[in-house]
């Protein structure tokens, strides 16, 4: 053991050290035990100097506050510390490999951040006159252009705020197209391998969802699809299909599926959440897709999860283009025009309505375009190829120890294992995931997709180096062998080393505590008490 000049150990951890101090504060060194902000702050304190002033109450009508609302006051350094301490318990893509399949946690290049912070983009307000933001309008149009080019489509609705919102937008355009043609079909087909939000979107619009079985190889059963189409002739609004699908497999029959749906009078909605696996390799428009959302926060590297809002523009085929929602940008001889109202529409423009108050996630548009421009078409293609290569590198590194539900065939950007390799080990997928936390990894997606028992869906993304993947594969192999050797304690009690141990997910779902309850009765102002 290495020692400092005073003979004290310098190595981290408890190597050779059996003593672990029970600390007075509850902190474990730099791992801070941080209470809720309501418990840190005090109702009597105020973090800033505010002029008490005489607020004329009459201006608030009947809305004057009747009681203290009990917000805790903290000085600026206290508030700062609270959030910085909490942030240290966070796991982020900037901290390590984040293999959350289907969620695509890829690196967010810092150049994007720099561009988004340019005052001309960062400081625009959605209510300022359109004439004062031609640059912002041009940027949205430029991004829209490249989204259409990369997908081989004719229009794009930019405003949806994330994937499921984009799905809703695409399906509303499909519904509007049917309505405009005097049709009112009732059924939307959703294969088992689709994302979970797909049937939810269809149901939200009042469609009846009919599920299409998957084949043994994890892709859509074309024969089952044909049978179902025949059963519901004339009543099919469309299909919602995810490609590459949620088993990480490319739907090879996609063109045939598109043709069958079109023949049946339906539209083809493709869930584009996994577009990051095929950018620069295949254009959804060429495959017969009528509508597809693009998760800028996945495919085009804008921040994701706690880091920033999502953004889910929807590309549309020429048949659906007229129904794109407001607002949209129209190209005229005099330049770009922002169309914001029904009254401003021309013949042939039949927007189904509006999905957002303003133009959408401007900050994400800047980042996504920055990513596209800095990578170029060759760079974007390479990102897709590397994402697929990395997933297959993980697959090959683990397939002898873990179990692939659909055989040893190449996957796309994510690799799906089932839990049959854990059979008779008394270790579940959940236990295994928790043990990954002790190893310093965010767990992969678990128990999804449902078509696979005890699913573990791993998406390393293109931004991981070979060294990083090697360490991940080695860690997973160590965990699997440990489980197979019967070292159940490592799993059943995991995580041992996280700030919190196993959470009571069942209790949280059955009896959720959604509100902090003040220990003492709320303070009532003298005026209100009277």
């Amino acid at each position: 053991m290495s020692m400092n000049t005073q003979g004290r150990p310098t190595a981290a951890g408890d190597a050779g050290e059996s003593f672990r101090p029970k600390t007075f504060t509850g902190n474990r060194g730099l791992d801070m035990e941080e209470p809720l902000i309501f418990e840190v702050g005090s109702l009597e304190n105020c973090g800033v100097d505010l002029d008490e002033g005489d607020l004329p109450e009459f201006e608030l009508g009947g809305h004057a506050r009747r009681a203290e609302i009990g917000l805790p006051g903290l000085a600026e350094p206290e508030a700062m510390r609270h959030y910085v301490r909490l942030s240290r318990n966070n796991y982020a893509i900037d901290a390590g490999l984040y293999p959350l399949g289907s969620c695509t946690m890829k690196h967010n290049p810092r150049l994007n951040e720099k561009m988004a912070r340019l005052p001309g983009f960062a400081d625009v307000h959605p209510l300022q006159p359109v004439s004062s933001v031609p640059g912002a309008i041009e940027l949205i149009d430029e991004l829209a252009h490249w989204l259409m080019v990369s997908t081989g489509t004719h229009a794009v609705a930019m405003s949806p705020k994330a994937g499921a919102h984009g799905e809703l937008c695409g399906m509303m355009a499909i519904k509007a197209a049917h309505t405009a043609a005097g049709r009112s079909p009732e059924i939307v087909l959703v294969p088992e391998s689709a994302h979970g939000t797909n049937p939810a979107t269809a149901a939200l619009l009042g469609y009846k969802v009919v599920s299409i079985d998957a084949k043994d190889d994890g892709t859509v059963d074309l024969e089952a699809l044909k049978t179902t189409i025949a059963e519901h002739t004339g009543n099919i609004a469309g299909i919602m299909l995810t490609n590459p699908n949620t088993c990480g497999l490319f739907e090879r029959d996609i063109k045939e599926i598109a043709d069958r749906i079109h023949e049946a009078g339906g539209f083809f909605y493709c869930d584009g959440a996994n577009f990051n696996a095929i950018v620069g390799k295949a254009r959804p428009g060429d495959l017969g897709v009528d509508a597809m959302h693009i998760n800028l926060h996945k495919t085009f590297s804008t921040p994701h999860g706690g880091g920033g809002p999502g953004s889910g523009p929807v590309v549309l085929s020429d048949k659906l283009a007229p129904f794109a929602p407001l607002p949209f940008i129209r190209k005229t001889d005099d330049g770009l025009e922002l169309v914001e109202t029904e009254a401003a529409t021309n013949d042939g423009e039949q927007p189904f309505g509006r999905m957002t108050a303003f133009q959408g996630q401007m900050g994400m548009y800047v980042r996504a375009l920055s990513y596209m421009m800095s990578h170029g078409s060759d760079g974007l293609r390479q990102a897709s190829e590397d994402a697929v290569l990395n997933a297959n590198y993980v697959r090959v590194g683990l397939q002898d120890l873990m179990s692939l539900p659909f055989g040893e065939r190449p996957c796309m950007h994510e690799v799906l294992f089932d839990d049959s390799f854990l059979k008779d080990t008394c270790v579940t997928t959940l236990d295994f995931a928790k043990a990954m936390i002790d190893e310093g990894y965010h767990p992969m997606t678990m128990y999804f997709p449902l078509v696979v028992h005890g699913a573990m869906l791993i998406e390393p993304t293109e931004s991981e180096s070979r060294a990083s993947l090697d360490l991940f594969v080695a860690t997973m192999r160590d965990l699997v062998m440990s489980a197979k050797r019967g070292e159940t304690q490592r799993f059943s009690g995991a995580p041992y080393l996280a700030p919190r141990r196993r959470l009571d997910e069942t209790g949280a779902a059955r009896k959720p505590v959604l509100k902090w309850t003040e220990p003492e009765p709320a303070q009532v102002t003298p005026e209100a008490a009277e």
Binding site: L430, Y447, F448, L450, E505, T506, A509, R510
Partner: protein, 123 residues
């Protein structure tokens, strides 16, 4: 009283003209701790294969499909407040719905207990 089982892991107990429907012990074990159950209102007409109820666990949300045609006569509303009952007594007190038997012929396509046991062995 005869009890039938479906491939979607529902049990159907028929007595007189009424079928009582719930999920099997195997199903609750696969789902894990059940945290939410959504049931249809009495009077709802169901066709075989229609979504009759939703059961949500810490792992997943799943649909419970109507194993036969019929009309819902009663839902076990206790489950809304005490979803844990589904884990405790899935094939007894935690029944989901009672419905009329709209088409007796459909019962013949379901499994008996022995066949269901053999079926889950294959999974």
């Amino acid at each position: 009283m005869t009890t039938y089982y479906s491939k979607d892991h529902e049990w159907i107990s028929v007595e007189g003209g009424t079928a009582t429907i719930g999920i099997t012990a195997y199903a609750q074990e696969q789902l894990g701790d059940v945290v939410y159950v959504e049931l249809p209102d009495a009077g709802k007409a169901l066709s075989q294969g229609d979504e009759a109820a939703v059961v949500e666990s810490v792992k997943a949300a799943s649909e419970v499909y109507a194993p036969i045609d019929g009309e819902v006569t009663e839902a076990n509303d206790v489950l809304a407040d005490e979803p844990a009952k589904v884990n405790e007594d899935p094939e007894g007190a935690a029944w989901f719905i009672k419905m009329t038997v709209g088409n007796e012929g459909q019962l013949a396509d379901l499994m008996d207990e022995a066949a269901y046991k053999a079926y889950i062995e294959t999974l």
